[in-house]
Symmetry: C2
Subunit: 182 residues, 2 copies
């Protein structure tokens, strides 16, 4: 509430501690909390999307003792020749479509996957990552989210699609530039 | 040596444990090692560049108890209105130029900054990050690198420019598709 800033269009800026500068002690605590929530679910791999989910995915992975895979938004020369699971993800914040991919070697049918991401708004990123999991034949256990914008449709859409979503903070409104939690 | 693959043009693919899938126990060990190397240098902030440096920067930051700032390669709506330090970084791997920026709020003249990145080849990324530090008036303490390609010019150029570079692994050659360390 003290550090978050509301920008036009319901965009919430938390760059000072969450996704441009990272408060590493808070981040470590977040990793421990996700590990507590999903610790008995037999997770074998954590999946996130570059870039701002990586810190939280990795700290959760350290706690759970499992590797982290991050889906890439662009294909550079050093992924050429690889087979990859791909999907298209729309970012409402940036108003762009991105092709998101994970090398086929990194998600296997016997994996039990936890998705970690910083924000949940319309749910596009999580739906995209869930589709990569589906393509691989792995099992999606659920999604751990730092901040859910409960005033946008993503959380409802994901839960109606049968995806378990655990959010550490739920924001019910940014009206008048005031961040209200639910 | 077992997992790394050599691609044409001296590109080394370590996606299976370092920068697409991340071995989190190795990553935590890397964070502890950088904290050991730079632990007495009064670091106040760690700077990296999205995306693949973030995991290692954050784990080093957890150990040193300091925040991590990551320079962004693209400007989305949620950074609009911010003042930012900017520079241009060329990626030889991807053969693209990227504008890289850090919000002016996140680097201050009294900061002592450690740069962390996964690869050092031609040194473009570290030179770019060093320039952001210079713009801010902060002090650059040094750069911690996971893998230095010692057969490319970056390490020499950075050290000749007076930048302290500490690499955890130095690769002297990839000739014949064989990774040789020095």
């Amino acid at each position: 509430m003290r550090e978050g800033k509301v920008l036009p269009g319901g965009v919430i800026k938390v760059g000072s501690f969450l996704n441009h500068m990272i408060d590493t002690q808070l981040a470590a605590e977040i990793g421990r909390e996700f590990a507590r929530i999903f610790g008995s679910d037999g997770i074998t791999k954590i999946l996130t999307i570059e870039a701002s989910g990586i810190a939280y995915a990795v700290l959760t992975g350290v706690e759970l003792g499992v590797p982290v895979v991050f889906a890439k938004k662009a294909v550079g020369r050093n992924t050429s020749g690889d087979n990859a699971f791909c999907c298209c993800v729309h970012s409402f914040t940036k108003d762009v479509d991105a092709t998101v991919s994970v090398g086929c070697d990194y998600l296997k049918p016997d994996d039990r996957v936890l998705i970690i991401d910083d924000f949940l708004a319309m749910g596009e990123a999580v739906f995209g990552l869930a589709d990569l999991v589906r393509q691989s034949g792995a099992t999606l256990v659920g999604a751990g989210i730092l901040i859910e914008k409960a005033f946008q449709a993503g959380g409802t859409r994901l839960r109606e699609a049968g995806i378990r979503v655990e959010s550490l903070a739920r924001i019910s409104s940014t009206e008048g530039g005031v961040i209200a939690f639910s």
